[in-house]
Amino acid sequence: MEQGALLTGLPAAFFYLFAFVAVAAALMVVSSRNPVHSVLYLILTFFNASALFLLTGAEFLAMILLIVYVGAVAVLFLFVVMMLDIDFAELRTGMLQYAPIGALVGLVLLAELVIVLGGSSFGPETVGAIAQPIPDLAIRENTAALGDVLYTEYVFFFQLAGLVLLVAMIGAIVLTLHHRRDVKRQDISRQVARTPETSIEVVEVESGKGI
C-alpha cells in the first residue's frame, strides 16, 4: 500500500466495522450492569482488536492477543467475577457523580490529541528510519521475523521480561500464601518411614492401674 494513502474498498469497510464494534463493546464493558456481561464484552473487544492487528499484517500479535487475553486473562476474570461476592451495584453508586468530570477530562484530552495529531504528520522519512521494519509478508512471515530478532538483538529485553515475570510470581506467592499450622497435612514420606519400632510401644500394665 502506498504511504499516506487512505484506506479504500474492502479493507476500509472491514477496518471501520472492527473499529466501531471494538469501541462500542469497550463502552459496554464499563456501562453494562452485569459484571459477567462486562467480561463478555471485553472478550468481544479483544476479538475486534485482534482483527485490526490482522488487517495491518501483524498476525503474530493478533494470535497472541487471542491466546493470552481471551484464552487466559478474560477467563480468569470470569472466574473471579463469578466467585467473588461483590456488590457491583454498590460499587457503581459513585459513578454517576464522577462521570461528568471524567467525561470532561477525557473530552479535553481527545480534543488536544485531535489538534496535535491532526496538525502534524508521521513523515515519510520516519518510515525509512524504523530500526526493525515489518518485512513483506511474501518474503518473511511476521512470526518468523519476530523470532529472528527476539533471541538475538533483543535478548537483553527478553531476559528482563523474564525477571519481571519472576517478580510477579514471587509477589503473588508473598501476598496470598498462608502457611496454616492448624491444618493436618498428609506427609507420605513420613508415613512410609514409620516402622513398628518407632510407632508401637509395648507397655507392661500393672493390674488395677491405667496407663
Partner: protein
C-alpha cells in the same frame, strides 16, 4: 562506542551478581528454617555491597546489547547511591522485623529485585530498557508496599500505589509510542538524531515528550503526580517507607536526567519549561502541605516531594553544572533521608512504635543524643548553613542562576524558607515541650545509621571537595561528546 557481547556481560557484572544472588537467596529462604530470615537479610546486604564494589572496581564505558544498556561515570555514581540506599534499608529492617513480626524472607529478595530494576533504569539507553527496568522496579515496590498483608492500611497503600502506578505506566507507554511514531526508533541517540535531522519541530513529538515526562514525574513523586505519596508512605511498614524515600528516587531521577539530556537534548528549550514547572509546583506544595501534618511519615512524604522539586531546579538549568547539582543533591538527600528514617524506626516506647510528631515532646531531656541527631538532620533538611542540606540547595540554585533562571531560583529560596517552618517545629517540640517519657533503647544498627548520617551532614564541608569532583566527573558523561 558499543561493546561486543562478552564485554557487554562484563559491563553487566553488578546486575548479574544481583540476579544470581536474588535467585539463590530465594532458595535459601525456602529451605532454611529457624533463622532463615536473618541469614537471607545478611546475605542480601553482602551481595548488594559486593555489587557496589564491582561497580567501582570494574568501570566500563560504552553501550552494550545493541545500545540498550549504557555504562558511564553518571550511571556508576547513581548506581552506588541506589545500592547504598537499598543496603542501608535492609540493615535497618532487621530490628523492625524482630519487633513487629515483619519476618518474610521474600522482603530482602524483593528489595534486591527492585534494586536490580533501578540499576537497569539508571543504565537505560533506549525506551524499551527504560520501560522494562521501570516495570521490574515498580512491580517489586507494589508488592513490598503491601507485604504486611494483614494490615488494612498497608494493603490499601499497596493497592493505591499499584493502580496509580499502572496508570502512570500507561501514560509513559503512550508517550513512548508517540515518540517512536515520530522518530522511528526507541534508542536515545537515535531519537536525538531524528529530532536534529527532522525538518521542523513536530508538535506530536512534543506531545509524546509531555507524556513521557508525566510518567517519570510520577515515579519521583513530583507535583502534580504526587497524590499517592503521603498515603503510601503512611500506610506501608516503616522500613518500606524508608526504602521508598531513598533508593527509587535515585534511580528515577537518574532516568529522568538521562532521558532529557540524551534523547531530548535537541528539545532542551521545550522540556526546560516542563521541568521548571514541575520543580516549582513540587517545591511549593512540598513546603506548604507539610505544615499541617501531624504524622512524621506523612511529613517525610511531603518533604521528599519538596526535595525532588529542589533537585529538579538543577535539571531545569540543563547545563553541566545543573546535572552536577542534581547528582550532589541526590547524594545529600539520600544521607539525610536514611538518617531521618533511622530515627523514625527508633521512635519506640513501651507500647510499640509511634508516628505522631507530638509524641516527641521533650526528647531533649530524656534522650539528648537522639534529639541532637534529629536536630542536626532537620536543620540540614531545612537547608541551614553550614550543614549538607544547605550545600545541596546551593549547587542547584547556583546552576539555575548561571542559566538565567532567576525566577525559578527565587521561588525555590522562598519555598525553602516556608519549608523550614515545619522542620523547625519538630525541633521546637523536642527541645521546648514537656517531656513524655524515655524511648526504648535504640538498636545498634539504627544508632549507627543515624550517627553516620548525622556526622556526614554535620561535617559535609570537609568532604565537599572530593564529592564535588566526583559529581563533576559524573555530570561530564553527558557533555563529553
Amino acid at each position: 562506542m558499543s561493546i561486543d557481547l562478552n564485554s557487554g556481560l562484563i559491563a553487566l557484572a553488578p546486575e548479574l551478581v544481583i540476579v544470581l544472588g536474588a535467585v539463590s537467596l530465594l532458595m535459601i529462604g525456602v529451605f532454611a528454617t529457624g533463622s532463615g530470615v536473618r541469614i537471607v537479610n545478611g546475605l542480601a546486604v553482602a551481595i548488594l555491597i559486593f555489587a557496589g564494589a564491582l561497580v567501582i572496581l570494574m568501570p566500563t564505558d560504552g553501550t552494550a546489547f545493541n545500545d540498550a544498556f549504557v555504562s558511564d561515570s553518571f550511571t556508576r555514581f547513581m548506581k552506588i547511591l541506589t545500592l547504598i540506599g537499598s543496603a542501608v534499608t535492609l540493615v535497618m529492617s532487621v530490628g523492625f522485623a524482630k519487633a513487629e513480626r515483619f519476618d518474610k524472607f521474600e522482603f530482602p529478595v524483593l528489595i534486591m529485585l527492585a534494586t536490580l530494576g533501578m540499576m537497569f533504569m539508571i543504565s537505560a539507553n533506549s525506551m524499551l530498557s527504560l520501560y522494562m527496568g521501570l516495570e521490574l522496579q515498580s512491580l517489586a515496590l507494589y508488592v513490598v508496599a503491601a507485604i504486611n498483608r494483614d494490615s488494612v492500611r498497608a494493603t490499601e497503600a499497596g493497592l493505591k500505589y499499584f493502580v496509580l502506578g499502572a496508570l502512570s505506566s500507561g501514560m509513559l507507554l503512550y508517550g513512548i509510542s508517540l515518540v517512536y511514531g515520530y522518530t522511528g526508533t526507541v534508542e536515545f541517540e537515535g531519537i536525538a538524531a531524528a529530532v536534529t535531522n527532522g525538518e521542523e519541530r513536530q508538535l506530536g513529538l512534543l506531545f509524546g515528550l509531555v507524556f513521557v515526562l508525566a510518567g517519570l514525574a510520577f515515579k519521583i513523586s513530583a507535583v502534580p503526580f504526587h497524590m499517592w505519596t503521603p498515603d503510601v508512605y503512611e500506610g506501608a511498614p516503616t522500613p518500606v517507607t524508608a526504602f521508598f524515600a531513598a533508593a527509587p528516587k535515585m534511580a528515577a531521577m537518574a532516568l529522568l536526567v538521562r532521558v532529557v539530556m540524551d534523547a531530548f537534548e535537541p528539545l532542551t528549550s521545550d522540556w526546560q519549561q516542563i521541568v521548571a514547572f514541575i520543580a516549582i509546583a513540587s517545591m511549593v506544595l512540598g513546603s506548604f502541605a507539610a505544615i499541617g501534618q501531624s504524622n512524621i511519615k506523612r511529613l517525610m512524604a511531603y518533604s521528599s516531594i519538596g526535595h525532588m522539586g529542589f533537585a529538579l531546579v538543577g535539571l531545569a538549568a540543563g547545563t553541566q553544572a545543573g546535572v552536577r547539582g542534581v547528582a550532589i543533591y541526590m547524594l545529600i538527600y539520600l544521607a539525610m533521608t536514611l538518617g531521618a528514617f533511622a530515627f523514625i524506626l527508633a521512635m519506640r516506647r513501651k507500647g510499640g512504635n509511634f508516628e505522631n510528631i507530638s509524641d516527641l515532646a521533650g526528647l531533649s531531656s530524656t534522650n539528648p543524643l537522639m534529639a541532637t541527631a534529629l536536630t542536626v538532620l532537620m536543620f540540614s533538611l531545612a537547608g541551614i548553613p553550614p550543614l549538607a542540606g544547605f550545600w545541596a540547595k546551593w549547587y542547584v540554585f547556583l546552576a539555575a542562576i548561571e542559566a538565567d533562571l532567576y525566577a525559578l531560583a527565587i521561588i525555590g529560596v522562598i519555598a525553602s524558607v516556608v519549608g523550614a517552618f515545619y522542620y523547625l517545629r519538630i525541633i521546637k517540640i523536642m527541645w521546648f515541650d514537656e517531656p513524655l517519657g524515655r524511648l526504648e533503647p535504640v538498636q545498634g544498627e539504627l544508632g549507627t545509621v543515624l550517627g553516620v548520617s548525622t556526622v556526614f551532614t554535620l561535617l559535609y564541608v570537609i568532604v565537599a571537595g572530593p564529592v564535588e569532583a566526583y559529581a563533576e566527573v559524573a555530570a561530564r558523561a553527558f557533555f563529553a561528546g
